[in-house]
Subunit: 146 residues, 2 copies
């Protein structure tokens, strides 16, 4: 595997609405996307763009709020009521090749590849196999053969 | 304030050496900088580059390991023995203007601006005022009047 773009950092929040106000009024974000529901993942999602180098697009902040009482991030928010850093997400050119590479290395993949917040296939790798960080692997938009 | 580049995410680790092997051999990082000590901050530091869009430099991973038994990240590692996401760092053009802006908003600045791992002035903002995230504010290299 070759290290890909850090697509986003996933930030859990008890309220996407409050976080939008924070990123707009405190941090000065100028591009905040429309929130949307991702019920298959149990979250509501809102992307905040950060500027990259030389006018490029930088790593996004992915705000995630529980979709319902079964959300996989409810436990995180119970421990961190204000929210906080939940996961990081790196891009790969092909999700199936990436999955095979992690598996060869004995890394535990959490479930099968599925469609993520950017509309491309993703999977998560167990934080205990990744230096304590819940890590999302995401096929780059426009690439791969999904 | 206008949202600046996400310069790096700070990742605590019990061993920078082990983390270098992880980022090189598992994640496929190709540019891993020389580790160095930052005793004033109580950490050893190693930057791992990630690729940005269109050949630009992306957000870095800042590996931080305790420098000694007084390190401010010892508590984090006691709770998270494998390491994990510790802070995020955004760039600003001028550290003193940024400090004044946060203070007007009632955000708690942790100490005075001081020289950070990239050689420019930085300060941290209390995670309880920042959606649960310990947030570093860093003057962009080559900018400002420090």
């Amino acid at each position: 595997m070759k290290l890909g773009r850090l697509n986003h950092i996933g930030v859990a929040t008890p309220s996407i609405n409050d976080s939008i106000i924070f990123y707009r009024d405190v941090m000065g974000a100028t591009k905040i996307h429309e929130p949307f529901d991702l019920p298959a993942q149990g979250v509501k999602v809102c992307f905040v763009d950060t500027p990259g180098e030389n006018g490029s697009n930088g790593t996004q902040i992915e705000l995630i709020e529980p979709y319902d009482e079964h959300s996989p991030i409810n436990g995180f928010l119970a421990k961190n009521p204000l929210g906080g850093q939940h996961h990081i997400c790196f891009e790969v050119p092909d999700i199936h090749i990436a999955k095979a590479e992690f598996e060869v290395l004995g890394k535990r993949i959490l479930g099968e590849p599925r469609i993520g917040a950017h509309g491309t296939p993703i999977f998560f790798v167990h934080p205990k196999d990744m230096g304590g960080m819940l890590t999302e692997i995401m096929e780059s938009p426009g690439e791969g053969k999904h």
